[in-house]
């Protein structure tokens, strides 16, 4: 499937680069619908890879790249079933999304996350699967999961640890604070900063550079430079699933979902 337009995602090949577009309003919350389309994307990758030398992931949402997991869906689904079944559902979701994330992480081509605005939680974790993050000046990153009594569950901690120092990981995780693109570049997460509204153009220009290189060499370099922390990723699922059964999580989700004030995304 070289082109696709779904409810949450679309993809196509533009000038030899695969472009995966996140397009679920309000801010690309990642729930079952997005997961299913991500799985379709991953299944289509062997065919897409034949015609594409790079992958660019970007968003058409005005608010940003992605606000992360769909907390409202998670809350409502877990309300509808018994505790044990809810926990099984969460584990199944995590295992499926890890398969998607691990596949993107290991793709035999250079991958670029072109982010703007809100790049939170699962959205940040998706960006971290990419080889290069390019961000516009509006980008803001955050792992807010501790506010909900959880840790990031889509592979965020092992991938963040792979890319930055442990002191930075502790700061970001344990405060749950959001940070801007200048900080993200300063700590080494973001490779290039684009002017507001220019991130896709900059990412496309970067992707076109990749076309000049031999693919076998790119793959060899990538495997050497970017090991995938499979053991820690599995460990993360276990920790998340253990925490998910704690009462603090239900309460944290309820507070977020029922918050009708203007500040649900502020700590």
């Amino acid at each position: 499937m070289s082109e696709f337009k779904g409810q949450a995602l679309s993809w196509q090949i533009v000038n030899g680069a695969i472009e995966l577009t996140l397009r679920r309003e309000p801010c690309n919350e990642i729930g079952l619908a997005t997961l299913e389309e991500l799985e379709k994307f991953v299944a289509a990758l062997p065919e897409l890879a034949a015609g594409g030398h790079a992958l660019v992931i970007h968003s058409t949402s005005k608010a940003g790249f992605s606000a992360g997991a769909d907390l409202r869906e998670l809350y409502h689904r877990s309300q509808q079933v018994e505790k044990a079944e809810a926990a099984r559902g969460v584990r199944d979701f995590l295992e499926r999304i890890h398969t998607v994330m691990n596949t993107i992480d290991a793709l035999p081509m250079t991958t670029i996350a072109a982010v703007h605005g809100v790049t939170f939680g699962g959205g940040f974790e998706l960006a971290l699967t990419c080889d290069i993050i390019i961000a516009d000046r509006t980008a803001r990153f955050c792992f807010p999961e501790l506010r909900l009594g959880l840790i990031p569950g889509f592979g965020g901690i092992p991938r963040l640890k792979r890319d930055v120092g442990n002191a930075v990981v502790r700061d970001l995780l344990l405060t749950g604070r959001s940070f801007n693109v200048m900080k993200a570049q300063q700590i080494g997460l973001v490779s290039q900063i684009a002017a507001e509204g220019e991130v896709l153009r900059v990412a496309r220009a970067t992707a076109s550079q990749m076309a000049k290189f031999d693919r076998t060499t790119v793959l060899a370099a990538k495997r050497f430079i970017k090991p995938i922390p499979y053991d820690e990723l599995k460990q993360e699922i276990e920790i998340f699933c253990n925490l998910f059964t704690q009462p603090a999580v239900k309460e944290g989700l309820r507070k977020f979902v029922e918050n009708e004030g203007p500040q649900p995304y502020l700590p």
């Binding site: 309000p26 605005g117 509006t138 980008a139 995304y265 700590p267």
Partner: protein, 80 residues
């Protein structure tokens, strides 16, 4: 270092320009969520723009419960 009043004035100017609200309609004690008609995601956008403008880093938890321009200016002033 700029005075608190100067910082406050710059915040009001930036908010008026970005959210396309007449500057004269904004006052220091306004609830900026209401006056600007913004939600928490837009408030984070405002925070990002203020951080760039003042070249500071202001953790968002310092904005917990802050909804007026005057207090926002004090938080920013403490980072200048």
């Amino acid at each position: 270092m700029p005075t608190n009043d100067h910082t406050l004035d710059e915040i009001l100017n930036l908010a008026a320009t970005h959210f396309k609200v007449p500057r004269e309609k904004l006052t220091p004690d306004d609830d900026f969520f209401k006056t600007l008609g913004i939600d928490s995601l837009q408030a984070l956008d405002l925070l990002t723009r203020l951080e760039h403008h003042f070249r500071i880093e202001l953790p968002d938890y310092e904005l917990q419960g802050v909804s007026d321009f005057r207090t926002l200016a004090q938080r920013i002033q403490s980072r200048l």
